[in-house]
Symmetry: C2
Subunit: 125 residues, 2 copies
DNA sequence: CTTATTTTTGCAACAATGTTGCATTAAGTA
DNA sequence: TACTTAATGCAACATTGTTGCAAAAATAAG
């Protein structure tokens, strides 16, 4: 297994995501970093962070991809909660307490879920 | 309100999607049509089909977008069912009978959902 | 059937997002 | 300090989706 190193880019990006209330997209991160590193580096760091389970990926209802930190990972480590996507302010929020229940036909083997709900968030209504 | 016309492209594309067991992506449709019309036309037809509720859009766990026909639309017309994305054969299937239940905090107003589960489908296991 | 009206289409150009190869830089370690 | 290997920057490319505009096709009207 390969090693992983702590670089400025990685630290800064993880800090940004951890300290954000909402999930962040690549382009939002790029603006926030303001030239600290290259676009490509951001993509690679994000992949690494997901790989290392320090961050999780959220696919929005419009297909856009955002990243959020795993606040509850220390204990349970699953990312089965719902994400809410506000159509007004475009924010994507983890609702870590909301885990939907569903029953698939037996033969399906589940390894990952992505539940996104869009509408109007509390702040916008 | 504007009219809508029945064109060859629209008919062919709707047929393709209706007769498919699995959800189809733009590029899959393009290959199947084999030059019948331009890429751009396919995008525009797909948007129209979604607009007219003849087809629904599925955003996969990897962010890819696919389209599926609405078999149950005649009666209930909601697209709240789960979609299953097979990591092996890459197929995306509507599980029209599986509607997850979940409870959001009161203040959120829901207008659309996208539930995707990925793993291994029956055919691949 | 012919003409008129409005939607659709094709094409070219553009934009956004993500990936890859390769030489250079920098982190961790001995 | 020097060495090894991961991480970065840069350029180039790939995919997906959008927009403007002139030409073509579908419906409606005569
Ligand atoms: Zn909002
Ligand atoms: Zn989350
Ligand atoms: Zn499969
Ligand atoms: Zn479906």
């Amino acid at each position: 297994m390969k090693q992983t190193r702590n670089t400025t880019a990685k630290t800064e990006i993880l800090d940004l995501i951890s300290q954000s209330e909402v999930a962040l997209s690549h382009s939002e991160i790029q603006s926030a970093l303001d030239g600290l590193c290259d676009r490509v580096t951001i993509y690679r760091v994000l992949n690494r962070l997901v790989e290392e389970d320090l961050v999780h990926k959220v696919v929005n209802t419009d297909g856009g991809v955002k990243y959020a930190s795993c606040h509850s990972c220390a204990t349970t480590h699953n990312h089965n909660h719902i994400h809410f996507s506000c159509q007004k302010c475009k924010s994507v929020t983890c609702l870590e307490n909301v885990e939907p229940s569903f029953k698939l036909p037996k033969k399906y083997k589940v390894s990952e879920v992505n539940f996104t709900v869009s509408g109007i968030c509390p702040k916008c209504s």
